[in-house]
């Protein structure tokens, strides 16, 4: 009920409708904590409901609530279809089908090794290597890379009409964009060859000697050998790997792919989102839309309402004296407190709403569509909730519900 209350008079502008209908891959990105995962899921759910076709939401956020909302008992690394009943329960007859998958970094790496390893022995050696286990499990950039890699794999193998991807919460929102390139650079690095040579032949290249002296003293010979062994194994997959990384990079740059930057109007996330939008453009990637979440209702900035709020706060005493009898309220003091509290609260929130409006006015590069989603005072717990949120992404104001 009150999600609608929060949104009344909110300024509805853009829509994701056209973008989701015309692209094959839509990547939701932006700073952490702005509702990226929920936005991606809501967009995918709406696309499945309204546009049709086979739609996949690929999420990296293991939020149990999202799995519940999609009617799935946990989402795994393999894609699963959201049961039709989840839609019918929400009173919707979907035009298409919604699928969901959650990225499991470790699982995805293992499957990548299985695909690219030249033989069973190399495969088993890599999977058992302690360094590999460490890299695949903990290494932050590997998380970014594998998300894009998995996207590529699904796009190549499965017949989805649309894939909506939720990007990993990175330290730097751009990391995942650079991940394929970094991975390719990493494996073709000259340093990598330096590192591997002495382990193979024990003849230390003159050029790598100073590097070795330091590395050896700092890290220890045994650890360096572990690293070297790991990379020798990895070298066997080098070509496949680099080709793959480049292909992932190309896919992201193609016209069939678009990026949606999600943010709130708070200063810090918004600055990060803006930087991200600029970088997308600089890299010639397609910025399809900006989604602004948790936007306070526009009526908070209404001057007439503000004047009323000020009067309630400043003249609470005389107002309550007159109002109390009409409310059949015996305690005018209580009425005074409520009036003054109501007035003050409006003025408090007005400060925040005004700050948000200024932030929004200062938004630099604005793409084809700018979508605002109001502050939902309750969390999204089911598909109906996702679809309600999705209506905002469609530029619609959800009908008043009770």
């Amino acid at each position: 009920m009150s999600a609608v209350l929060a949104s009344r008079h909110a300024d509805v502008t853009g829509t994701l409708d056209g973008l989701l209908a015309s692209r094959e891959i839509v990547v939701a990105c932006g700073p952490g904590g702005v509702g990226k995962t929920t936005t991606a899921a809501a967009a995918a759910a709406m696309a499945a409901a309204r546009i049709g076709g086979k739609v996949l939401v690929l999420t990296v956020d293991p939020a149990r609530r999202l799995a519940d909302a999609l009617g799935l008992e946990g989402i795994g690394n393999t894609e699963r279809q959201v049961p039709l009943e989840a839609f019918t329960d929400a009173g919707v007859r979907p035009a298409g089908a919604l699928w969901a998958a959650m990225l499991d970094t470790k699982e995805s790496w293992d499957s990548l090794i299985r695909t690219h390893a030249p033989d069973a022995r190399t495969r088993d050696d890599i999977l058992a290597n302690p360094l590999y286990r460490n890299i695949s499990g903990r290494f932050v950039q590997s998380h970014d890379y594998i998300a894009m890699e998995r996207l590529f794999e699904i796009h190549a193998e499965a017949d989805y009409d649309l894939i909506v991807v939720d990007t990993p919460p990175t330290r730097n929102a751009l990391d995942f964009l650079d991940a394929p390139e970094r991975m390719a650079e990493f494996f073709s690095s000259r340093l990598l060859r330096w590192l591997i040579v002495p382990y193979r032949s024990r003849i230390v290249n003159f050029a790598s000697r100073p590097f070795y002296q330091v590395a050896d003293r700092v890290l220890g010979t045994q650890f360096l050998q572990d690293i070297a062994q790991f990379f020798i194994l990895f070298q066997t997959m080098y070509d496949g790997f680099v080709d793959r990384a480049r292909a992932v990079q190309r896919l992201l740059a193609e016209r069939r792919t678009s990026f949606v930057v999600v943010s709130t109007l708070e200063a810090v996330p918004l600055r990060e989102a803006e930087f991200f939008a600029e970088q997308l453009t600089a890299r010639k990637l397609h910025l399809g839309a900006i989604v602004l979440n948790k936007v306070l209702p526009a009526y908070l900035r209404d001057p007439a309402a503000c004047a009323v709020a000020e009067r309630l706060r400043d003249r609470a005493e005389p107002l309550s004296a007159e109002l109390a009898p009409r409310l059949e309220e015996s305690d005018p003091n209580q009425v005074r407190r409520v009036l003054s509290e109501v007035g003050q609260s409006f003025l408090d929130y007005r400060v925040v709403a005004q700050r948000e409006a200024e932030q929004r006015a200062e938004l630099g590069a604005v793409p084809e569509s700018l979508v605002t989603v109001p502050y939902f005072d309750t969390d999204v717990y089911d598909l109906a909730g996702l679809l309600r949120l999705g209506q905002w992404l469609w530029g619609e104001e959800p009908a008043l519900t009770t």
Binding site: L5, L131, L219, A267, R311
Partner: protein
């Protein structure tokens, strides 16, 4: 449990967007104003600390920006240089050549190296007693475990060498609750609370660092007291709205809507707060910081947060 300001090394983490940097900065400011020689270190240099303290760019070399408050920004390569200089007596720039590339490579290849250089530098400042308190604006919840567990991970992977010999004293400092503590900053919202509960469990299981405090940021004010909400409900009925409109000389509907929004927002958050309290070990103290209805970020905000922190800390 040891008081927050009585420790020597305090890591401040939290989900992105909850105000982790604001709280870390305010904590460092408050400590310095209480006479602690304090170092504030920004690990993921985004420049927010500089903006909040309204000071110029912050580098690897600590700079005193206010009396007793020093700030630095972590740079793992600079940390490596410093380390090599102190331990190997190698004139780094001259002989290693493209150290940056070599370092980047090793750090990428060997997980934990970057993290150990960060933790190492911080623990070094504590060991050398350069400061009374080191406050770390640490990586967000997703990465903090890797950071705190780095010495242990290196211990498992690296059997010999200089780094290996260094992890023991680092572990000793990190594992000592009298010296080191972790602060998780959260907001009373669904996902931040979920992440806080998950992180608290992982910290206990996977690291040796003590969870010293959970700080709940942006707690919304309660609008109405006992019976007042019932009165507010009556105020929202059509006849009352009409009467109020007449008296206040204008349509009160948006003002009442805003109050309703404030009440429901507060209520949803109270539910998450309860969930948080129930899921965090009773021995871990919790602090509550109010939502600030202010226009600007910057020094004024930091001072407000610092004051609220001080009140919660019992000063």
């Amino acid at each position: 449990m040891v008081g927050l300001l009585d420790r020597r090394l305090v890591f401040v983490t939290g989900k992105g967007g909850v105000g982790k940097t604001t709280v870390a900065t305010a904590l460092a400011l408050f400590a310095s104003e209480r006479g602690r020689r304090t170092l504030l270190c920004e690990v993921d240099a985004k420049g927010d600390v500089a903006a909040y303290l309204e000071t110029g760019e912050i580098g690897f070399t600590a700079r005193e920006v206010l009396p007793g408050l020093f700030v630095m920004s972590m740079d793992t390569e600079a940390s490596l240089r410093e380390y090599l200089k102190l331990n190997l007596r190698i004139p780094v720039a001259g002989r290693i050549g493209p150290l940056a590339r070599a370092f980047d490579f090793v750090a990428t290849a060997a997980p934990g190296v970057r993290e150990i250089l960060t933790v190492g530098k911080l623990a070094y400042e504590v060991r050398e007693r350069h400061y009374d308190l080191v406050v770390v604006d640490a990586p967000a919840t997703g990465h903090i475990i890797g950071q705190l567990a780095a010495p242990q991970a290196i211990n498992d992977l690296v059997k010999v060498g200089l780094i290996r010999s260094q992890t023991d004293w680092m572990l000793e400092i990190l594992s000592d609750p009298a010296r080191t503590g972790l602060v998780i900053v959260t907001t009373p919202e669904e996902m931040p609370v979920n992440e806080t509960l998950e992180l608290a469990a992982r910290v206990e299981k996977e690291t040796t660092v003590e969870l010293a405090e959970v700080i709940v940021n942006r707690v919304l004010p309660e609008l109405f007291g006992h019976n007042e909400e019932e009165l507010f409900d009556r105020l929202c009925l059509a006849p009352a709205v009409a009467a109020l409109g007449e008296l206040a000389d204008g349509d009160p509907t948006p003002v009442l809507d805003a109050a309703r929004l404030a009440v429901t927002l507060r209520r949803t958050r109270a539910g998450h707060l309860e969930r948080l309290r129930a899921g965090i070990d009773r021995s871990v103290p919790m602090m509550y910081l109010p939502f600030l209805f202010t226009r600007y970020h910057g020094m004024r905000t930091i001072r407000q947060v610092a004051q609220a922190l001080g009140e919660e800390l019992g000063f």
